[in-house]
């Protein structure tokens, strides 16, 4: 069984979805329990991955490879390394949490909802475990459909607009990526005679410089939309506001990570020279995202929109960390992906708790909640603090490592002292994060009770505790003792950096006309 544990984890939710679909229609409670248990079982099985994972081995583990369409060089190739392991666990964990959280929020078409969510989980897991570009693309697109349904069917008043915007925007990006995948396939096949979609094989191939730039841009656009990076982010607030709580949790918690994961898994190793050449532009967009996202968050009247824009800011940090190509930036970026999933997921869950009681998400409709719902308020405070990066909670570990990575990058950058602007501007994001989070928190929980409708609010129910406590556990755990998490990613992160650097150097050697600045950028990439 251990040989196929990755397949089991990936397809267990889909299998469960089929089972749930066969349940009788009227039994909503049964459907809810079964949906949750399938997701919980998937999480339990996925823990085997953590237990069996060898942190010292930077390569792919739990690898499964089977012939699928050999004539096209397509195979069923799965595997995880330190980069994807935590994301797989995050996905299985948040899926279970999301399903449990939706028991009261979703009242119509309960069965269809559970089925969609479980198919969504398989799609997301598939993206993280695929080592074949074709297979990856299939999962990447397949996952859109259940998410489209979750927003479009169970969403708020403007759900259709939001769902269509979400799917069209993402599709527009991924179509270009598909073209790029095919070009890469033929390019590699033409050059080596081996026509394959296999990622580890393709990653060894040095793409000719002229082609590489375009391929990088096509991939980067698809990922930038998914992250979303400024200025491709406007689908996110709409999708979040309209999606049901469980949808928002997975959207923010996992789907956005596919963009950052894509940069890490595909852009950097496949097109290292172009990645390095474009890094300044990526930094610029990430910095704009960090500050712009925070500013826009500050004045949002709607809780979900505020959290959505804060995601733009947080993900800016992640992208920044990844492109520093330093161990600190990479490990920090990966940890921050997990952290953002936990903190933002928890924020959406808590906003959902309020929405279920008051059917509004406007900050102005609350105030003085600490007096009525103290337990809720305490959890809300902890999660808000984790989101603004308070040391001792998870967010700090990632943010700090990313900034250290940015600093290390700046100290060796070819651009000279002006490179220090990158960590300095990024750090200013932590000031703005404190402003928008604490201001929001004050208006929701402090003060006198401003609206009579809030007087009789019920504090957290046992089920809500069960949803939130596990998330909180990880928020504290990663903040206080991050070793079990960072330790898993380090070897793979280091290996990736080495691979990118050696490949970029090879590309530079193969193209002697590379400008001096590029050469310096390549040589100067973080040796720390």
């Amino acid at each position: 069984m251990m040989g196929h544990v990755l397949s089991i984890v990936t397809f267990l939710p889909a299998l469960g979805a089929v089972g749930v679909a066969l349940l009788p229609r009227g039994r909503a409670a049964l459907v809810r329990w079964c949906g949750f248990l399938v997701a919980a079982a998937t999480f339990a099985v996925s823990l085997l991955l953590y237990v069996g994972f060898d942190a010292r081995d930077p390569g792919y583990q739990f690898v499964e490879q089977a012939r699928w369409m050999p004539s096209f060089g397509i195979s069923y190739h799965l595997g995880i390394d330190g980069i994807s392991l935590l994301l797989v666990l995050l996905t299985t964990f948040l899926s279970a949490v999301a399903l449990l959280s939706s028991w009261r929020a979703i009242e119509g078409r309960v069965k269809e909802f559970a089925v969609s969510m479980l198919f969504l989980e398989t799609g997301m897991l598939g993206v993280f475990v695929s080592l074949d570009l074709f297979l990856f693309y299939v999962f990447w697109e397949a996952m859109l459909i259940p998410m489209y349904l979750v927003i479009g069917v169970w969403g708020g008043p403007a759900r259709i607009y939001a769902a269509i915007k979400f799917i069209l925007y993402t599709l527009a990006g991924s179509v270009l990526m598909l073209v790029a995948i095919l070009v890469l396939y033929f390019q590699h096949g033409g050059a080596t005679g081996n026509y394959t979609f296999d990622l580890p094989v393709l990653a060894r191939y040095v793409v000719p410089r002229g082609v590489e730039v375009w391929l990088f841009l096509a991939f980067a656009l698809a990922f930038a939309i998914k992250v979303p990076m400024f200025p491709f982010h406007t689908w996110l607030p709409d999708a979040h506001v309209e999606a049901p709580t469980a949808g928002s949790v997975l959207l923010a918690g996992v789907l956005l990570k596919m963009g950052t994961y894509g940069f890490l898994r595909f852009c950097l190793p496949l097109f290292p020279a172009a990645s390095l050449a474009f890094a300044p532009w990526i930094f610029a967009l990430a910095l704009v995202g960090i500050i712009y996202g925070a500013w826009v968050s500050m004045v949002q009247p709607d809780l979900k929109k505020l959290v959505a824009y804060s995601s733009v800011s947080h993900l800016g940090f992640v992208v920044l960390g990844l492109f520093t190509l330093t161990p600190q930036g990479l490990v920090g970026g990966i940890i921050q992906m997990v952290n953002h999933g936990l903190s933002t997921g928890a924020l959406f869950l808590l906003v959902g708790v309020l929405y279920e009681r008051r059917h509004t998400r406007l900050i102005a409709d609350f105030g003085g909640l600490w007096k009525v719902v103290p337990a809720f308020s305490v959890l809300f405070l902890i999660v808000s603090l984790s989101s603004l990066g308070l040391p001792g909670l998870n967010g700090f570990v990632g943010e700090f490592l990313i900034l250290v990575g940015a600093f290390a990058w700046a100290s060796q950058a070819a651009a000279g002292p002006s490179a220090y602007l990158v960590p300095v501007l990024a750090s200013s994001g932590i000031i703005f994060a404190a402003i928008y989070m604490l201001w929001m928190y004050q208006r929701v929980c402090f003060g006198e009770i401003a609206h009579d409708a809030n007087r009789g609010l019920r504090d957290l129910t046992p089920r809500e505790w069960a949803v939130l406590l596990p998330v909180l556990l990880f928020i504290f755990w990663i903040g206080v003792y991050p070793r079990p998490f960072t330790g898993m990613t380090e070897a793979s992160a280091q290996a990736l950096i080495a691979q990118v650097r050696s490949k970029a150097a090879a590309a530079a050697a193969a193209h002697p006309r590379v400008s001096r600045a590029d050469g310096e950028a390549i040589a100067g990439v973080g040796g720390r």
Partner: protein, 624 residues
């Protein structure tokens, strides 16, 4: 031994957890958890102090923390004379204030919550002091900031309290922005954050790099210790319960900046320029805040500005290299300022929450214990001999005279005079003269319970005797000798100029003159309530309004940021960025709609189009 060290923070942490998880049931008995927890910490701190006294220092390593690549940090502790002194102050004063709180917070609906926060603060502060590297320092630096935020906003239903808490956190974040960058730069420059390693390798830093790092770190200190230009949060922090003002916003947390600069003095010395900046910021703040304290009408705000001013003295001391004197002043200030705050709390408690000096007066006969102890505290703050503040402040003044520019010494001397004026203004306005409060309040004025007055007594005693360890002798003062492993004793060079004796006389004269002036103004003639706190001239209005710094920041930072945010959110994001996206969508739809006209369904039209196409292709081929 290093195991015992970890127990010091462990007890308050356990107290925090117990009251946080079971506070609902412990409720009125929360102090039975919190106070003994601190008592244990204090006793352990004494044990550790004795060990250090015997010349031991130790380091402890708890567990590896953030690690990636060559960035390797652990949770480590360093116990040397400096941290041992700080431990005693934090747990000792902390313990007294915990006891006092039992009386002060009696009957508050958030009783258990209060002790949860208070215990958590002591835990964080102990960890801050124990920290063996810059990252752990930074972590607990922010953690005490969190406690400050929670405790300032303790009465959260009050808008002003919640605002003040938020302001404290955000202003501190501005400072920590610099502090964090400094820590990162330090690592990039030296490859380590461990105190011992950093200071051992400090010579590898170029003076320029050292200056940049030191100034970034000092930015954090300005935030935490409320120095110009980041001082604005501390007066507002008086919204918190008075024991909090005493413990966090006077005795311990706000001194963290001084502690940090003293701890990293090797770095600041490597820079040189940074030390001068520290000295000047301290000196200017000392005088600046003292002038504001002259005019305030809220008893706690006077004390708050006084704290800012006294912290300025400490920074001035550190800045001229008188580390031992600065830390000594930190200790004595912890005693007399905690005493003054707790005394003010006793006064506020007696008058059902009244903090306005205009509505006090004549309290002395009804509150003898509070009056006497407050007088001791005032004498300590004013620097009258033989109280503790006299020795420590004089040491700073003397050092600034010998080692700093003359102008700095002059600033501090004028500040010392003003200090005596404002604190005795409070003494005379609150405790003497005719009562100015409403009759029904006046009838209920009473001395506070023993649980509050005993801590006052202990602190008064400490204020009276602690100066002894600072008496200069042939071997230097005892305190300086104790911390000499951390701060090497300055060589006994005669700098010329005024003798130590003349300086001593000068500072006593300044303090006494200040007391006399206050007596003349507030006791020499009857005080009219409406005359206090009303601007008499432009200068008075300027001081009364705290030099309009809050208004300035509001106009320069707060409102423009909000405007920019509003512009980004509404115009830029919805209009331009999202407008472009929707515009593309509309373009496609519009184009498709116009194309739809071609799909007429008539075979004739299609055939015509096909024919036209064929003609065009043939024509093109022929023409080519």
């Amino acid at each position: 031994m290093s195991n015992i060290v970890w127990l010091i923070p462990l007890f308050p942490l356990l107290g925090t957890l117990l009251n946080a998880l079971f506070g609902r049931w412990i409720d009125r008995k929360a102090h039975w958890v919190a106070v003994p927890a601190l008592g244990c910490s204090f006793l352990l701190s004494c044990a550790v102090f004795l060990k250090v006294w015997q010349g031991e220092t130790f380091t402890g390593d708890l567990f590896p923390w953030i690690q990636a690549g060559s960035f390797r940090t652990s949770v480590t502790a360093l116990v040397d004379p400096l941290s041992a002194v700080m431990l005693l102050v934090v747990t000792g004063v902390g313990f007294l204030i915990h006891v006092y709180s039992v009386g002060y917070m009696h009957g508050d609906p958030g009783y258990a919550r209060f002790f949860t926060y208070l215990n958590f603060f002591v835990f964080s502060m102990v960890m801050l002091v124990l920290a063996g590297n810059f990252l752990v320092l930074y972590v607990f630096w922010e953690a005490v900031g969190l406690c400050s935020y929670l405790l300032i906003g303790f009465w959260y239903t009050r808008r002003s309290a919640a605002d003040a808490g938020k302001k404290a956190f955000i202003v501190n974040r501005v400072g920590d922005f610099g502090f964090g960058l400094g820590v990162m730069y330090l690592w990039v420059a030296l490859g380590t954050l461990d105190y011992g390693e950093v200071f051992a390798r400090i010579g590898a830093l170029s003076p320029t790099t050292a200056t940049v790092i030191a100034l970034l770190l000092f930015m954090g200190a300005c935030g935490k210790s409320a120095q110009l230009p980041l001082h604005t949060w501390l007066p507002d922090a008086m919204e918190g319960p008075t024991p909090v003002s005493a413990l966090i916003h006077a005795a311990t947390m706000v001194t963290a900046g001084v502690y940090m600069v003293a701890r990293s003095h090797a770095l600041f010395e490597r820079s040189g320029v940074a030390l001068d900046v520290v000295a000047w910021v301290g000196g200017i703040t000392a005088l600046f805040a003292a002038t504001i304290a002259l005019a305030q009408t809220d008893i706690k705000r006077v004390l708050a500005y006084s704290t800012i001013s006294q912290l300025g003295y400490m920074f001035a001391g550190v800045g001229v290299g008188a580390y031992a004197a600065a830390i000594f002043h930190l200790v004595t200030h912890a005693f007399f300022k905690a005493l003054l705050f707790l005394g003010a709390g006793s006064v506020i408690h007696a008058q059902a929450g009244e903090q306005d000096l205009r509505k006090m007066g004549g309290l002395a006969p009804r509150m003898m214990a509070t009056t006497v102890t407050f007088l001791v505290g005032a004498a300590g703050l004013a620097g009258l001999p033989p109280f503790a503040g006299f020795f420590s402040k004089d040491e700073i003044l003397a050092s600034s005279y010998h080692r700093g520019p003359l102008a700095l010494w002059a600033l501090l001397l004028i500040g010392a005079f003003l200090t005596a004026v404002y604190v005795f203004r409070v003494v005379f306005l609150a405790f003497f003269g005719a009562p100015r409060m409403p009759k029904e309040v006046a009838q209920h004025v009473h001395e506070s319970p023993l649980v509050m007055t005993v801590p006052l007594g202990v602190l008064a005693l400490l204020t009276a005797v602690a100066g002894a360890v600072g008496i200069p002798s042939a071997h230097g003062m005892a305190f300086a000798r104790f911390v000499s492993p951390v701060f090497p004793l300055p060589e006994g060079v005669d700098h010329g100029g005024l003798s130590a004796y003349a300086l001593l006389v000068l500072s006593v004269v300044a303090a006494t003159a200040g007391v006399l002036l206050a007596w003349l103004v507030y006791r020499g003639r009857p005080v009219r309530a409406e005359a206090i706190g009303r601007p008499r001239n432009r200068l008075h209005a300027l001081v009364l309004n705290k030099y309009y710094v809050d208004e300035l920041y509001d106009a320069v930072f707060v409102r423009p940021t909000l405007r920019a945010a509003g512009f980004c959110a509404r115009t830029l994001d919805l209009g331009v960025v999202d407008g472009a996206v929707n515009g593309v969508g509309r373009l496609v739809v519009g184009w498709a709609r116009s194309m739809r006209a071609l799909q007429t369904g008539y075979v004739m039209n299609y055939a015509m189009a096909t024919l036209a196409g064929a003609v065009a292709i043939v024509g093109f081929l022929l023409w080519r």
